[in-house]
């Protein structure tokens, strides 16, 4: 057996190499970037729910309280912030709903319902809910 060039090497005690995972591992592939972006947009879903609760709470306290929230929502920086939040929510929702067929496997008369149908059903339900809310909010203005 020849002389070992690696001073840490000892015969019959092989040393496995385990790579150190780079902190920016998620930039190495488009799929990872999409995944991380989806994860990072999750807090915006929480934010949207909390904002809705704040609005409902203000509504319960009466017209002046609700008006204060409305005034705050109408301020320029807040509108800009909420436009960004909306973009994040749309990205999160679209990427999330596109994953639905993986989790939901339905069978009709022995045959698996195509992924496209399940995806379309989810997006359809989303559109229907949005349209109903839009009608409730805007149709009464």
């Amino acid at each position: 057996m020849g002389q070992a060039l690696n001073p840490d090497h000892t015969p019959y005690h092989p040393k496995w190499y385990r790579r150190r995972i780079p902190i920016f591992w998620w930039l190495s592939k488009r799929g990872y970037v999409k995944f991380i972006t989806r994860e990072l947009t999750s807090p915006f879903v929480v934010y949207a729910v909390l904002l809705l609760l704040v609005q409902v709470g203000a509504l319960a306290r009466g017209q002046p309280a609700y008006q204060r929230v409305e005034d705050w929502l109408g301020r320029g920086p807040v509108v800009a912030w909420h436009a960004f939040v909306l973009a994040a929510l749309v990205f999160h929702s679209v990427t999330w709903l596109n994953l639905a067929p993986s989790a939901l496997v339905l069978r009709l008369r022995g045959a698996r319902v195509p992924d496209g149908v399940i995806r379309a059903a989810h997006f359809g339900a989303w559109a229907a809910c949005s349209a109903m809310l839009g009608w409730l909010l805007l149709g009464r203005v």
Partner: protein, 247 residues
């Protein structure tokens, strides 16, 4: 097109290097050659010490999975032509400790695979004289896609969670557990659920989805994991609402 191509191979020879390094080889380009053929050429003609796994050369044994230009691929099913003009970078799969050159240690996967009992579990074996366990085409279709898994480990290499959280049981193990769960002859669902529904099982998966993207056999391990999550959640809800009911 050029009559040769540069293959850059990640070498790790523990007696020589404390960490891997790149080594380049000039290999003849043949239109019909796969990346594995290029590696075989290196081993036969340029450097006999190059170490890697391979066997069937037809995408069935699952031995020759490696990172080719950063993508987990079966080298026996990846044409050189599609990667021209090169150079082509070949590395061992991510997620496994490297034993030597392109060979990873798969011991962790094999230990985890055994935990989910990847075989047909029966409470009572039927006597041979009673004949086969018959299945309808629909019953076969229920698990057949999961039975296509060739244990090539590409899904583990593509899964960042497996590398970040080494306790994660991993995509192929869960897909193979589903293969038996959906088999009409099997009665081991509950035993597997006890293993798979732990934190190191399905709940470690954050649904990156790359495991299904890279699978050369369209097994869809990500789908298997999500379906397991749905079932585990339904079981939990059922146990809360009807604690007296059998799981």
């Amino acid at each position: 097109m050029s009559d040769s191509v540069t293959i850059e191979v990640r070498r790790y020879r523990p007696e020589q290097e404390s960490e891997p390094c790149w080594e380049s080889f000039e290999v003849p380009f043949r239109r019909e050659w796969m990346v594995l053929d290029a590696l075989n050429y290196i081993k036969d003609h340029l450097d006999g010490t190059l170490s890697y796994r391979w066997s069937c050369r037809m995408g069935v044994c699952g031995s020759c999975g490696m990172l080719v230009n950063g993508e987990p691929l079966l080298t026996c099913a990846t044409y050189l032509e599609g990667l021209m003009p090169g150079p082509i970078r070949v590395e061992p799969l991510n997620g496994f400790p490297v034993v030597r050159d392109l060979i990873g240690d798969l011991g962790d996967f094999l230990e985890k695979l055994e935990r989910v009992k990847p075989w047909i579990v029966r409470e009572e074996e039927r006597d041979v004289s009673e004949g086969e366990y018959l299945q309808t085409p629909e019953q076969l279709a229920a698990y057949k896609s999961y039975a296509m898994c060739i244990n090539c480990m590409l899904c583990y290499s593509a899964c960042p969670i497996y590398e970040l959280e080494p306790h994660f049981i991993g995509p192929a193990v869960i897909a193979l557990a589903q293969r038996y769960n959906f088999d009409s002859r099997d009665e081991g669902v509950e035993e597997r659920m006890d293993v798979i529904s732990q934190q190191d099982g399905i709940w470690s998966c954050t649904f990156v989805g790359e495991c299904s993207t890279v699978c050369p056999k369209n097994v869809d391990p990500a789908g298997a994991i999500q379906r397991y999550k749905v079932r585990a959640t339904a079981d939990f809800m059922k146990s809360m609402v009807m604690p007296w009911a059998k799981r």
